[in-house]
Each structure stands twice: as structure tokens, then as C-alpha cells.
């Protein structure tokens, strides 16, 4: 996910100081890693260089945290283009999960892959339970629920793949080859 586009999106509702942007990011992206200040200012610097944001009012004391940033017309166009763009379906070759199973099969055997998968499966199921509990929490807002759903759907897909793979590595002759 691209932090710069998210920052553009957060500026769409009005100019913000760097600190406000960090706060808004962390509030709206509850499952993402909190954004470091350094990253906020580095990203804003790039966006400014590219003409996508411009400095607004600067409080008398100066200093970067007192400078507010606003979306430029070009920035709004870029944001719009990003929102219209279909993401490449996540390239599965990048998945650490798949990589580990492939390496386990190469470097060891199906048994080794199965042991890893069983442990990974337990961790996934545990995380899924936590996210499900978070979703059921009456305090959760719509943003929390849809973010939890997003993670749950991906874990669910991983778990299905792991179950199939556990069965496949246990008995490679089953399924497609039989």
C-alpha cells in the first residue's frame, strides 16, 4: 500500500499539519503500522517536490510540525487516478508462506513442509480468532469492522490453501495427479 496516496487522501478533507496527518493515518488505518514522523515528513517532502501538495499557513514559531500542507489540483488528480487504478492481483510469488513451503520441499521433504504449515496454521487461526473478537466488540466502528474483515478474508484464504497443501504434501499422489 502506498503511504503517499493515503496522505493525499487524508489531505482531501482539508489542510493538515504533519502531526495531524500522522494521527489521522493511524486512526483511519487501524491495522496498518503506526506511521513514524520521519516518514510523514519525508513523504510530504516528496509530494511537495512533485507539486502534489503545497505548504499552507506556517505558524510564527516555524519548524516543520507547524507547517500545514494542502492538496494541490495536481495532487487531487493524482489521488483520483490512484483511486481509479486496479491493483495488480497480489503476486503470489512474493508470499513468504509459499516461499517457505517451496523451500521446505526443496531443502527437506513434505514432512518438514507439513510441520511448518501446521505451526503456521495455528498462528493464522489464532490471529483470526483475535480479529473476529475485535469485530464482535460493540465498541468497534465501521472502519474497524471492515479492516478486520479485510484481514480475516485474507487469513481465511491462506488457511484454505494451507489445509489443501497439508493434505497434498502428506500424500502427493492425491488430487490433480491421481
Amino acid at each position: 500500500m502506498s503511504t503517499s496516496h493515503v496522505l493525499l487522501g487524508l489531505l482531501a478533507e482539508g489542510p493538515k499539519h504533519g502531526y495531524e496527518l500522522k494521527r489521522a493515518h493511524d486512526a483511519h488505518m487501524p491495522r496498518a503500522k503506526p506511521l513514524a514522523f520521519g516518514q510523514v515528513y519525508a513523504t510530504l517532502g516528496r509530494l511537495q517536490r512533485d507539486g502534489l501538495v503545497a505548504e499552507g499557513d506556517r505558524d510564527r514559531e516555524g519548524g516543520p510540525e507547524r507547517t500545514s500542507f494542502a492538496l494541490t489540483a495536481q495532487g487531487r488528480e493524482r489521488l483520483d487516478a490512484w483511486l481509479s487504478e486496479v491493483e495488480a492481483p497480489a503476486p503470489f510469488v512474493a508470499s513468504a508462506l509459499l516461499a517457505k513451503v517451496v523451500v521446505a520441499l526443496l531443502a527437506a521433504d513434505g514432512r518438514r513442509a507439513g510441520v511448518y504449515l501446521a505451526a503456521q496454521r495455528a498462528a493464522h487461526q489464532q490471529r483470526l480468532r483475535e480479529l473476529t473478537a475485535a469485530k464482535l466488540d460493540p465498541e468497534s466502528g465501521l472502519g474497524d469492522v471492515i479492516a478486520a474483515d479485510f484481514a480475516i478474508s485474507h487469513l481465511d484464504a491462506d488457511l484454505r490453501w494451507m489445509d489443501t497443501t497439508i493434505a497434498r504434501v502428506a500424500d502427493p499422489n492425491r488430487g490433480v495427479r491421481s
Binding site: G114, Q125, T132, L136, A170
Partner: protein, 228 residues
């Protein structure tokens, strides 16, 4: 675990010559929600039927609060299912000719509760499941999710100590399934009902406190199953 409300040891069950359970040991504590997962045909429903006294195992024992369910005559098992155990299936549990309120009253009427008290309790449970406005409708006039919530009300109206749910969301779309599960978990927690939740969907198992996995008629430690 000594606080098991229901436990089973060495359950064996075959249909003709094909074994469906090959020695299953299982327990659930009061108020605990346990998911039983595993591929289709591995014996999940058979296990649930043996635990709830619908089927009698060929061997092994089922103990519910110090009573041997597997040794009870059918009439006693049926009485237990009407009072202390609740069952929720995938769909098609409601009597088509009866209204929602009548369907939910049914278990209480069968247990000897008076008509008026049964109706009051039924309306309370329909309300808890957010379907009070459907009280006078028949199943054919409801969506799948609504029917399943009425079926859940019917399973819970006797305030069972153990609820058995066999793929309770299997016939529903994601959002309707989620509503059924949210109600099920909330009410089970509030009434300290133990739940045995059979599902082949990881995301539904996510509602449970604990998961056990079946393979080919046995409860498998997934690590062992993978390494076999």
C-alpha cells in the same frame, strides 16, 4: 479438564462396513465454544450426532454431567435433547406450516410448558435474535438468514447447557452468516452455553475459543496429521 460438561471417549461408529469414527476422544467445558473442523466426509456430523444422542456409537462412551448418554434409551436421549441440549442444523429445521413464534414455542410445548408461557418465551427469544417482527410469519416468507435466526431461537429457547451447531452458516451468504454467528456467540456467552460448532470454514472456526481438527474419523493434532 475436570470441568467438562460433556465428554466422549473412544467413540467408534460405522455405517455398514465403512467406519465414520475410529476412536474419538473429545470434551467441552461449560460455556466453552469449540469448533470441530476438517474436510467433508471426515466424520464431523457423525461425531456431533453421537455427542448429542441422536446416534448411538458402536463403542466408546458419551458423558453429559455424569450421565452416560450412550447407554440411555432413545426416549431419555430425546428428553435430554429437548431440555438440556440444543441442536442447530444447516437449514430446513423449521416446520413450514407454523409461524416463527409457533416454531420457537414447540420445544417448550413438547417439554410440558403451558401455551401462554411458551409463547412469551418464544417472543423473548425472537427479540434477542433481532427477528421479533417475524413472529407471525412462516418460514417460506423469510430469508435464509432470518430462518436461521429463528432456528437459533428455537434451539436456545429451552436454555440448553450445550448447543450443537452443524454448519450453521453453510447455506448463508457471508453477512447473513456473520449475523447468525454474532448472535450465537453473544447469547452463548451471556447464558454460559457450551457450543460444539461443526464447520469446514476457517473464518467460522474463528468464532470459537478452541479448534479441533478431524481427519478420516479421527481427531487429529494438525501437526501430526501433516507429518503423517
Amino acid at each position: 479438564m475436570n470441568d467438562a460438561i460433556l465428554s466422549a471417549r473412544g467413540l467408534v461408529k460405522s455405517y455398514g462396513n465403512s467406519p465414520a469414527l475410529r476412536g474419538v476422544t473429545f470434551e467441552v467445558a461449560a460455556g466453552e465454544i469449540v469448533a470441530v473442523t476438517g474436510p467433508s466426509g471426515c466424520g464431523k456430523s457423525t461425531l456431533l450426532h453421537c455427542l448429542s444422542g441422536i446416534l448411538r456409537p458402536d463403542a466408546g462412551e458419551v458423558v453429559y454431567r455424569e450421565q452416560r448418554v450412550d447407554l440411555m434409551p432413545e426416549s431419555a436421549r430425546a428428553r435430554l435433547r429437548r431440555s438440556e441440549l440444543g441442536v442447530l442444523f444447516q437449514f430446513g429445521q423449521l416446520v413450514a406450516e407454523l409461524t416463527a413464534a409457533e416454531n420457537v414455542s414447540l420445544p417448550l410445548l413438547l417439554a410440558g410448558t403451558g401455551r401462554r408461557a411458551a409463547r412469551t418465551a418464544a417472543l423473548t427469544w425472537l427479540d434477542r435474535l433481532g427477528v421479533a417482527e417475524l413472529a407471525e410469519q412462516r418460514p417460506g416468507e423469510m430469508s435464509g438468514g432470518q430462518q436461521q435466526r429463528v432456528a437459533l431461537a428455537r434451539a436456545l429457547v429451552t436454555e440448553p447447557r450445550v448447543l450443537f451447531a452443524d454448519e450453521p452458516t453453510g447455506a448463508l451468504d457471508t453477512l447473513a452468516g456473520e449475523q447468525v454467528m454474532a448472535h450465537l456467540v453473544r447469547l452463548a456467552r451471556a447464558h454460559r452455553t457450551a457450543v460444539v460448532l461443526v464447520t469446514h470454514e476457517p473464518r467460522i472456526a474463528g468464532y470459537a475459543d478452541r479448534e479441533v481438527i478431524m481427519r478420516d474419523g479421527e481427531l487429529a493434532d494438525v501437526a501430526l496429521a501433516a507429518a503423517r
